[in-house]
Amino acid sequence: MTLHGDREVDDPWQAIEDCYDAGWSDGLPVVPPTQPLVDAMLARGVWDSNEVLLHEPARGLSVTAHKAAVNAVLAGCRPEYFPVVGAALQAMGHPDFGLHGLITSTGGAAVLVAINGPVRDEIGVHYKENLFGPGFRANATIGRSLRLVLRNCLSVIPGVLDKSTQGWAGKYTMCFGEDEASCPWEPFHVSRGFEPDQSTVTVMAAESGHNVVNHASSTVEGLLGTFADTMAAFGSFSSGRSLVVFAPEHARKIAASGWTRSQVSEYLFENAVRSFADLKRGGKVERSGLVQGFDPARWVASDPMVQPEDEDIVVHRGVRPDDISLMVGGGDAGGHSAFFPSWSRGRSVPLITQEILTP
């Protein structure tokens, strides 16, 4: 249950409990949202209080900068994080992101947030050791504020509108920076058309990440083969997008090979594959009377029974190489990278990148 309206409490220490009672928490203690804190948050953004940052068309709900600021306070954000929070909400409202689907689906996706540009060091977004884990206020609270907006403004509450079968811990927060200095190529946001001195957020509807361990490969093909194998595992195999975050150790090996960003994506696309027959045997193809043969975007087929010719049909993860996005992040030591599959058993939604503006 969620209670609406401002609330008054006599004891400041009871304020946190009162926020729990009102249904405003994700389960962790929140910072009581007082007017001075909300005002300070709003003052660091570029938006008027009533400006809409995110519109959810399925139910006609609009999240204003004011409501975003209240939830950023709840989450524990410092005011200088607010431009990032607002930009992430704007990205989530992009029509191609299909917000209503991913926040209500049984798939249980998190909104993964990757940050590029100068803002990372200006506000302390972490991109080295344990970048996906705990320990860093900006990472912890920026991602958390998005989840609290979803909960408090869009009723994305487990069992109500959030029908995630299991969900995952990234739904508390999943926010990190790219280690641009360790990237063999231009930073991720520059590869998407932004300037190096611009700051951006990129949002992705992400399943939980898969650790990709490889300590010993002496060739780039051997190294990337481990990634392709991980990406071809049935559990997450789909026609959707992929995000690979290379550890700096893996990035150094790729850099030494001289391979370009597009070469790496193409290699992963060509090798993260299963036969159509495998797909059918693995229960990954659903029957549809509405298609002729096989629909490679939705993985439905008129005939889900394995036929001899199906053994020779190659099915890729994604439908083209640029469905596979590449970033770099993590500690300098260790051959541990990550693969994040996109939400949805089908085509899913693209990654959306939005510039972060400051006053």
Binding site: T2, H4, P33, N152, R298, R347
Partner: protein, 94 residues
Amino acid sequence: MTVTLIDPTLGPAKGGKSLAPRPTSLDGAVIGLINNGKTNGREILQRVAHNLGATHKIADVILLTKANPSAPATAEELDSLAQGSSVIIAAIGD
């Protein structure tokens, strides 16, 4: 000392939607069906239409299948369905 906590929530959408007038009879009605595109969604809806046809004089049945289960139907699709149908039934198959 009293602390005022600022409301972080949104209520339901304002100026929103209301239910269409309920039909008094389905005799002569054109039934529009919105299939979300997931497995068995079409089968569920067609069975509903079939059962309605057993007890009412249904004139016709129109089926719209969304190309992407996770995306809304387009405005053109919805307009077309609304203009051609007396009653519309939506369902989620999964």
